[in-house]
């Protein structure tokens, strides 16, 4: 799949370099009957991670529509986070000409499956949450990412484990997913000799007895788990029951309130995330508006999703009404978003990246600070 995707994307990038003229700018010229699409889980196991992303984009669209003559729609394409469902759904998106940009795909696995289709048809995408580094290496001209990838998150997690937790021995576990295995691999490489053992679990597995025995046998200072909250919640509970006393370190896939179901076992867990804390002054206005609209504090990647949607909305405001111009607009974009300076390099990666550490304290996920 990788090779054909690269060939398709190459053809596309040639056509994408055609014209340079934009709309004349100004809100009055804004195009009508355009839609953005959210691509990611609305239902299914990972629905908890999808919700803030949907709401962040929804807030951006609602705010835009408030003073716009022509309303922009937000179409939700529910992938349930499954790579299997992604290609058909992507085909569905590209066949709807009125969809001018996609916020998503939310996860790395589905991004890998849907990416070639978007690239072939030239539908610009900005993912607010997919962090697997290899996604940017496929040569998809349409791919953009509004947050740091695991190549920055992984080293940041490793740095935190070494410098802040001061762990001498670390056990690394992953869930064999595109996201989890990729991230765990980077962390493992960065930790080098401090890694005292590794294990791979399976998604949807519920009993981790053997893994727990492996960890307690080594008695490491820290365990790093690359994976999602569904397994992390069970894993940490069983690790603690098994007598593991060290620090549990996880990444953005676990930063969800559902992880707190592990109750006491979750306390003290370190969660790294290239997502800005909702307490950061830069996102204060956004957080207030979000809470007023949805009755809850912005969840993980809500602000990044808001930024991603706003890039497209700025383009629509400038009068852009087709995908080709939109792609160019996004490629040339260089404005301050609420989470970071939004500018993409030629692979679609953001130029400005921050990774933050969070911890679980008294039954809540609270920010610790940026990992520098």
């Amino acid at each position: 799949m990788g090779i054909s995707a690269a060939v398709l994307a190459l053809g596309l990038s040639l056509t994408a370099c055609g014209t340079t003229e934009d709309g004349d700018g100004g809100g009055s010229d804004a195009a009508c009957d355009l839609k953005l699409a959210f691509f990611g889980p609305e239902t299914g196991d990972a629905a908890g991670l999808g919700k803030p992303i949907i709401q962040g984009a929804q807030l951006a669209v609602d705010q835009y529509n408030k003073d716009a003559k022509c309303k922009v729609g937000l179409e939700k394409k529910d992938s349930q986070g499954s790579p299997d469902a992604a290609p058909a759904l992507a085909t569905d998106v590209v066949s709807d000409e009125s969809i001018i940009g996609v916020v998503g795909p939310a996860f790395s696995g589905e991004s890998a499956a849907a990416g070639p289709i978007f690239a072939e048809e030239g539908v610009p995408t900005i993912t607010p949450s997919a962090t697997n580094p290899t996604l940017a290496d496929n040569g998809w001209a349409t791919f953009h990412r509004a947050l740091g990838n695991d190549a920055t998150q992984g080293p940041a997690a490793a740095k935190y484990i070494k410098d802040t937790i001061k762990a001498k021995t670390v056990y690394v576990i992953d869930d064999a997913s595109e996201y989890g295995a990729g991230l765990a691999g980077i962390v493992k490489k960065d930790l080098g000799g401090a890694v005292s053992g590794t294990d791979t679990i399976q998604q949807k597995q519920t009993d981790f007895s053997a893994t727990v025995t492996k960890v307690t046998d080594k008695n490491p200072d820290a365990v790093f788990f690359g994976g999602y909250y569904a397994e992390a919640t069970l894993l940490i509970g069983q690790l603690r029951d098994g007598g593991f006393k060290g620090t549990f370190v996880v990444a953005d896939g676990v930063k969800d309130p559902a992880f707190l179901d592990a109750k006491k076992a979750a306390e003290g867990t370190i969660i790294t995330c290239p997502c800005i804390p909702d307490t950061d002054p830069a996102v204060a206005d956004f957080a207030k508006a979000y809470e007023a609209e949805f009755g809850e504090a912005p969840g993980t990647y809500a602000a990044e999703s808001y930024d991603a949607a706003n890039v497209f909305l700025a383009g629509i405001k400038d009068g852009i009404d087709d995908r080709k111009d939109m792609l160019e607009f996004v490629n040339d974009y260089d404005e301050k978003g609420i989470t970071k300076q939004l500018k993409f390099d030629d692979k679609g990666e953001p130029a400005d990246v921050h990774v933050y550490a969070y911890t679980v304290k008294d039954g809540a996920i609270v920010p610790v600070g940026e990992i520098k």
């Binding site: 294990d199 791979t200 949807k204 597995q205 727990v212 025995t213 046998d217």
Partner: protein
Amino acid sequence: MNLNFEFFFNNLPELTITGLAFGAIYALIALGYTMVYGVLQLINFAHSEVFMYGTFATLWVVMAFNAADANGIQLVLILIAALIASMAMSAAIALILERVAYRPLIKRKAPRLIALISAIGASFVLAELMGLRDRVASWVHLDDNLSDYVRKAKINNSMAGVLEKPRYDVFGVSISLIDIIVIVAAVAMMVLLDQFVRRSRLGKGIRATAQDPETASLMGVNPTRTIQMTFLIGGLMAGVAGFLYMLKLDATNYQVGFLLGVKAFTAAVLGGIGNLRGALLGGLVLGVAENWGQAILGSEWRDVIAFVLLVLILLVRPTGLLGESLGKARA
């Protein structure tokens, strides 16, 4: 692939005990498959959902009585109530299954394949109903009152923090009390059931029906009632399994039945389908083999180990380890 024998031998007792504990849960679920197969020669694929409903019954009782704040005798009473609720829920689901998905087909003498399809369909319906329980509750406008029970329908629902899970060092081996409770309780239930089927009038009826349904009915055994009782017993055992599963793992979700169901079915075939003692042996062997295999090869090999073991044993002994049917079990 590196084989980690050093770790395996150093931790053999602990790996064996945790393997036995999960194997015991497999075995209790496997009973439902094996009994129904013994009587009807039919694989009740929806049995995994019977178990899953039991885990939720346990969870809901624990939440309803606020077990997190209880301790001592109060906690024990709540857990007993949870066990009874789990058994009642699973038994009810099993009986409904028999009534709705099987009895009409058996009455019309439908081919076995049709019953199998019906079972798979029922399995999906039951699982998805649980997954959509928040919507179901909203149809009857109870979603506000029941929000704690139906919320987060699509992810793990947890009773973490309710139980302290003490560990003891016995001759340098760290053993969890819960694992021991699970193993002892499961084996005790199996022994009870085995004796019941061997000695009681109903048990004899079940065995007679398994041997020869027509002759059994001529001898005054009511086949419909016997089949119903078989489902009931299978459901009760799945309820115990659901309760023990929650004790051990704390969390469940609506899809939890699938993998466990496949494994329990494997355990039943491994031990010899239709054979009660075979189900126990198959479950324990499977649980331990999985744990040992994971220790040596890595946890990602878990399912490979389980099914390779199944194929190997069936190649040597096509009828399974104990290979004797329910009907032929000696009184």
